[in-house]
Amino acid sequence: MTDTTSPTTLGHAEAATPIAPGRTPWKLEAIGFVLGFTLLALLPLIFGDTYARHILIMAFIYAIVASNWDLSLGYGGVFNFGHLALFGIGVYAYSLLTKLAGFDPWTALFASGVIATLAAILVTIPILRLKGIYIILVTFGFAQLVMQVIISQSAITGGTQGLVRIPGLYLFDHNMVRDGKFAYFYIALALLVASTLFLRVFVRSRAGASIVALRDNEEYAISRGVSIVRQRMLTLAASAFFTGIAGAFYAAYQRNASIDVFGMSLATIILSMVLLGGTSTIYGAIIASFVLTIFAEWMADFGAWRPMITAVLIIGVMLAYPSGLVGMIKASWGAVAGRLKRPA
């Protein structure tokens, strides 16, 4: 009895739900999601060497940071330029918790995510009533001041010298150091999967829709009962958790922490990933992270010219396609689809 009724009701409900225009049906997305990440999981079979896995681990970390930034920047429309500070807070929270407070690395990893979330909530308070450029200024100032505090509190944080010999992660009795980075590769991938799943579910949820509504028409959204205070806080907090965890993982993987994570160059690269990927897609930022990380590796031969070439390319792409590469693909696809749909 139940066997026959339940699928029909489910199918019925599905048919009744109108598919929003321009939205990928969730089943299709789920298939793509599983396929894409399975492919990533199989990559070590193709690229056998340890160094290739190292590059991919870095790309996964950047992808987490960039895609979470896309949540606040792209979906939320909140120009949070302190996003990298949340990553940095994750780095230092993990380092200090494991090294000084003697926390278990996995507990510290999770706690770093929570601490970054709390920091995001803290930074939301002054920007609740602000708009546009003021949010950039305040969040940027927040990031730099976190760095200043870390530098000045050198007795605990190591100041500009940073911290070394930070405890790494462990998996039972597995030797994390001599396994050719296999364990770290799959932990990083698992974190990226968890983060992406979280982000996609979040942006497709009612909360995600209300955040976008707030971005696109603030007055209207407020008049329809969307709370700007709650949604902004929710957006920033949601974007902070996996960013903080990524920072913690980064510290565990590198075994050291330095204030470079607060620097302009890293922020520029990650922001380029978000913007080149095209905002409000999540996947765009992830793909751009892979492309840019691998591109940067590929250019390693250029030495000192590398950052300059990267800068010129970023400027070139931004001038040619301000909505990013994915935006360009979308626009051309939209034009094609529109032509197909239109009756002749």
Partner: protein, 291 residues
């Protein structure tokens, strides 16, 4: 007595440098409505160009003005290449942040390639030291304290007493209407960037005269300038000037009474508190315009 003199002197000195930087940021924001993240790099480049000219054998008093003029050209070119093509596009604020950051990275790494990572120093404006109120100070610092208000006053006069300055203020308020009274809006945008870059370059020359220079020397002053404009409000140029000196005094007092160790944290706390009470900054008026 010496405590007061030290705080007063430190505040005036730091405030002068912050004001020179912050005014340029505010000028570009009010006229074009974008934020120039390569402003710190302008500062560095001004100092390096001055150093190079002195190295080539020019006397400092000729090299410095040339460097400032060259910086005006750099500002103009940067505006024309990474800002102007984006005007009128949606999301321009965000896209310009990334293009100016990238341009800054390009210039910074270019400077590193040309001049190398070794620290350099340029001649002081005036060599020598003196003692005021029991505090030993260099004449270079005194020169900065005296020159900066003069330059800021000149800028104010330019904006408020000349027709070109009037045109800049007009563009800041309404671009379409500026076109309709026949202003060359593109040229005025270039001018705003040129002035901002010159001021940043001059600040760099000031700084290079008492501290070692490096290709990343601009990032810390950019941060301070950002804090200053957050404090003072970015919609005018007088707000940031007041805020620059206020923060200068605040820092001088903090580091005197609590030590350098706690100054950033205290500044941070005050900043957050200020923004919770007055999100537009303490000196910001409701209107946007240069004055």
């Amino acid at each position: 007595m010496s405590a007061l003199a030290e705080i007063l002197f430190g505040g005036l000195f730091q405030g002068s440098l912050y004001a020179m930087m912050a005014v340029g940021l505010a000028l570009v924001w009010t006229t074009i409505g974008v934020f120039n993240f390569s402003h710190g790099v302008f500062m560095m480049l001004g100092a390096y160009i001055a150093w190079q000219l002195v190295e080539l054998g020019l006397p400092a008093m000729i090299a410095f003005p040339i460097a400032v003029v060259v910086m005006a050209g750099v500002g103009w070119i940067l505006q024309a290449s990474v800002v102007r093509p984006l005007i009128g596009r949606p999301n321009i604020v965000l896209v310009v942040v990334i293009t100016t950051l990238a341009a800054g990275s390009l210039i910074e790494n270019g400077a590193l390639t040309i001049w190398g990572p070794r620290s350099k120093q340029i001649p002081a404006l005036i060599a020598g030291n003196t003692t005021i109120g029991g505090v030993g100070v260099s004449l270079h610092q005194i020169a900065i304290i005296v020159i900066t208000p003069l330059i800021l006053a000149a800028l104010w006069m330019f904006l408020n007493r000349t027709r070109l300055g009037l045109a800049l203020r007009a563009v800041a308020q309404n671009e379409d209407a500026s076109h309709l009274v026949g202003l060359n809006v593109t040229a005025l945008y270039g001018l705003a960037f040129a002035i901002a870059a010159s001021l940043a370059g001059l600040a760099g020359i000031f700084m290079g005269g008492y501290r070692f220079m490096s290709p990343v020397m601009g990032s810390d002053p950019l941060l301070k300038a950002l804090i200053v404009v957050v404090f003072g409000g970015i919609s005018s140029i007088s707000g940031p000037i007041f805020a620059a000196y206020l923060i200068g005094f605040f820092e001088a007092a903090c580091s005197y009474y609590f030590g350098l160790y706690w100054t950033p944290a205290l500044l941070f706390g005050v900043l957050i508190l200020t923004l919770m009470v007055r999100p537009e900054g303490i000196f910001a008026s409701r209107s946007r315009g240069l004055a």
